[in-house]
Amino acid sequence: MTHLESSQFGDIVFDPDQIIEFPAGLPAFEGLRSFLLLAIKGSAIGALQSVDQPSVCFPVMPIASLVPAYQMDLTAEDRECLLAPSEASADLLTLAILTLPESGLPTANLLAPVVIHTRTRRGVQSVRGDLLYSPEYSLAGPRQHDVERPSCS
């Protein structure tokens, strides 16, 4: 087991096999390639914690619990990053990164879901080109362009 001293979560104990590799990093954090997915039992909300830079950590939530009908749109490059030949793989975990403002309600980035392949242990932030979903989807309710009501209110 390995330890990581995270700025937000304190001491994290993990198995190196739990590290998820993001070959392209994430936009604005292209240099950070190794992440852990942290979760609390019984909660849909978790965190994507950088292993390389312990102060960087993104709150995440499965996209299906926000917008059940969300349609993924992986590009060929995304699939290459994930080492996943098909989009419908049951091994794919699709998460939205949350932003928690100083005041007001959190928002979820539905424009660029984080997709993790649980068997290849690869991840990618798949940035949609169609602008069909909002990068600031309010957890309070749907905004323009968003069809489904989220389960949060």
């Binding site: 019984g42 978790g46 950590c57 649980t118």
Partner: protein
């Protein structure tokens, strides 16, 4: 917004140093060729929006914020719990 109609093979100029050529129009897509000086950043808009959003999100979440959010949101318990997914590190305080 200035709207200009152009055909494949035609070119637009922006300022003195940027040239945009319409290379191909087919199947609802336009292929553009851009000539610009190296110091001008050319970015797909959605990447820029995501980069901004990521910078704002990257400060993470404190345990109390996480608990508040969890209380605020009704999480369907069936298949959405992250803790049951493979690879996940269960976080103990």
């Amino acid at each position: 917004m200035l709207v200009v109609r152009r055909r494949a093979g035609e070119i637009l100029l922006i300022g003195e140093s940027v040239e945009i050529e319409i290379l191909e129009v087919s199947g609802g897509q336009v292929k553009l060729g851009i000539r610009a000086p190296r110091e001008i950043a050319i970015l797909r808009k959605e990447i820029q929006l995501t980069a901004e959003q990521n910078r704002r999100s990257s400060q993470g979440i404190s345990r109390s914020q996480l608990e508040n959010l969890h209380a605020q949101c009704k999480i369907p318990s069936n298949n959405s719990s992250l803790a049951d997914k493979p690879l996940v590190v269960i976080w103990r305080s």
